[in-house]
Symmetry: C2
Subunit: 338 residues, 2 copies
């Protein structure tokens, strides 16, 4: 999505829709819910984005941001920002803030798609090895891993993981152990979680028209019928001026979020959810149908859950299928082209 | 292994044991066996290495080189070179040479471990993105993919694949399709093949002593009992002066090859085989026992074969397990540390 300020820039070059995604798991006797909105805004000032609106339930507060979204759980922070935001620069201040309420980091996951315009990013962003080195300098007592997943000479996705030293043993027995049950470090109980992202490029121009402010009536009809993928969710959305669209949704202790950059020369949409699903392929097909991408990637993170993603998607060719087995986690990356 | 000339250099810094590995599949009405040894030596002059000795059978000629090995099949070339050899620079001349006997390229695979001393390599070698760009400039009509597999901030392995455009569709149904049967492009028949590499670092100093010329008696006893892994193989080996050891073995239409750099500050050994095996884990354990590495990686390429590698290796922790599904191929990369 775009702020008015960045529109003049993007007219000349293009907006960086692809987000930086940071997920931090904390442990300790208190809760992130003790942190006030103005304290979060101080963090977001470093990132260079603003809180537009919030929704909340008993588990989660969802912040709709000027550049994407933030979800705050008791012991988990998910911060996703697009454009030229400086997400990583906020980590030291986040760690200070949570330390003041006696929370410490358990694990972190940082990821992003290959940027459209890496040269426009501010250090340490833009060059993946710089981002990894920056994170390694912060997470010194952790097992850390920086990966480039997919073609370096094509669409790819970058992932950084920092986990506790004691949690680093992978003793796996063949591919069937994907979906195995491992006790994780948080409170000693087995956490089950699955997170799916669908990152879409070169979107259908006709389907993009409704994501401009000038066509906001079309969007109103559309979002009720189509974009509200989970019927019972509590939803917060925003149509940017002159274009761009964001949705946050909460459903029990799960979230989903959608962000759309509709400009034809840099069109991009992302869908992310941790809401459990019966048929993952069906969900992928529904989302892809909304935006009509020429190519897209899926990233499926699974903690102690089977990864039942059939890689066949009608009308697309799967050009890459890569499975990583991380300590306690499995990850499947697929890349599709028409 | 080392030539006398490079010893003085490596005393100051270290020898680059980790090899560059090029495998090219050809198609056409003739055979690579028509190419003479002096024509191959012309190619190897560009790479900067020499033929030391050869063995052959009905299927294959195996060349033991001053820097590693070359295997020539009717329609397949495998060239593996270590040190600061300039392997990629030879590709244009290889393509000219095979073109003169009416062969064309079907697929190529180029891979290497992360270098110990990338700054000592000659362009395009040393920086993976340069190597990928160089190969892309040669293989313009192909589907190409350059991957970094494993941690960019730790041990990793780089792979480049160029396959025919028509062979690029991945329509897979879940992880169980690993080992599926796909007709490949060569002659329309289903080729089955499996290639295993074990790349070992920080080797046991005591086990390294026998790979010095001064202890050649120990090696003679040892190689008969231990290093000759396939009892019926035709074997060609070389102990370098002052140290370093290479073996080529042929068994029917399969090969294996071992290369050892025993110097403590840059110790490295590689084992590669396409000989079919009943128990892959047992083979890995046997090889690891010979060299005593503190860490090692396995790469298992499988064409239309099940990948029955149990990732558990006694005494080691599996730090990475990554599976790539390439068109017609599956690849499993594992990294182990003590």
């Amino acid at each position: 999505m775009l702020t008015t300020e960045t529109v003049s820039q993007q007219t000349q070059s293009g907006f960086e829709g692809p987000e930086k995604l940071l997920e931090i798991w904390f442990k300790g006797p208190t809760s992130l819910h003790q942190i006030t909105q103005s304290q979060w805004q101080n963090i977001l000032d470093i990132v260079k984005c603003k809180i537009l609106s919030t929704i909340k339930n008993d588990h989660t507060t969802a912040y709709l941001l000027s550049e994407s979204s933030m979800f705050v759980y008791e012991h988990k922070l998910i911060l996703k920002t697009c454009g030229t935001t400086t997400l990583l620069s906020a980590i030291p201040t986040i760690l200070e803030l949570v330390s003041s309420i006696s929370l410490i980091v358990d694990s972190i996951f940082y990821s992003r798609k290959a940027f459209f315009f890496p040269e426009k990013q501010e250090f340490p962003h833009g060059v993946w090895s710089d981002e990894v080195e920056y994170l390694d300098s912060i997470f010194k007592g952790f097992n850390t891993a920086g990966y480039v997943i997919g073609k370096i000479n094509g669409d790819h996705w970058c992932l950084y993981v920092a986990t506790p030293m004691c949690n680093s043993d992978l003793n796996l027995i063949g591919p069937s152990s994907l979906g195995k049950e491992i006790a994780n470090g948080i409170g000693g109980k087995i956490e089950k979680e699955i997170t799916l992202e669908i990152l879409m490029l070169d979107l259908d121009p006709e389907k993009m028209q409704k994501f401009w402010k000038s066509s906001s009536k079309d969007l109103k009809v559309f979002r009720i019928n189509k974009l509200n993928i989970y019927k019972d969710a509590q939803v917060d959305d925003h149509l940017f001026d002159p274009c761009g669209y964001s949705v946050n949704g909460l459903l029990d202790n799960f979230y989903y979020t959608i962000h759309v950059t509709p400009e034809l020369h840099c069109s991009y949409a992302s869908f992310e959810t941790c809401v459990p699903f019966d048929n993952l392929n069906d969900l992928v097909l529904r989302v892809v149908d909304i935006f009509g991408p020429a190519k897209f990637s899926t990233t499926l993170f699974s903690m102690n859950c089977p990864m039942n993603l059939d890689c066949a998607v009608d009308g697309f060719k799967c050009r890459d299928r890569i499975i990583h087995s991380l300590p306690g986690w499995d990850l499947m990356f697929c890349h599709y082209e028409k």
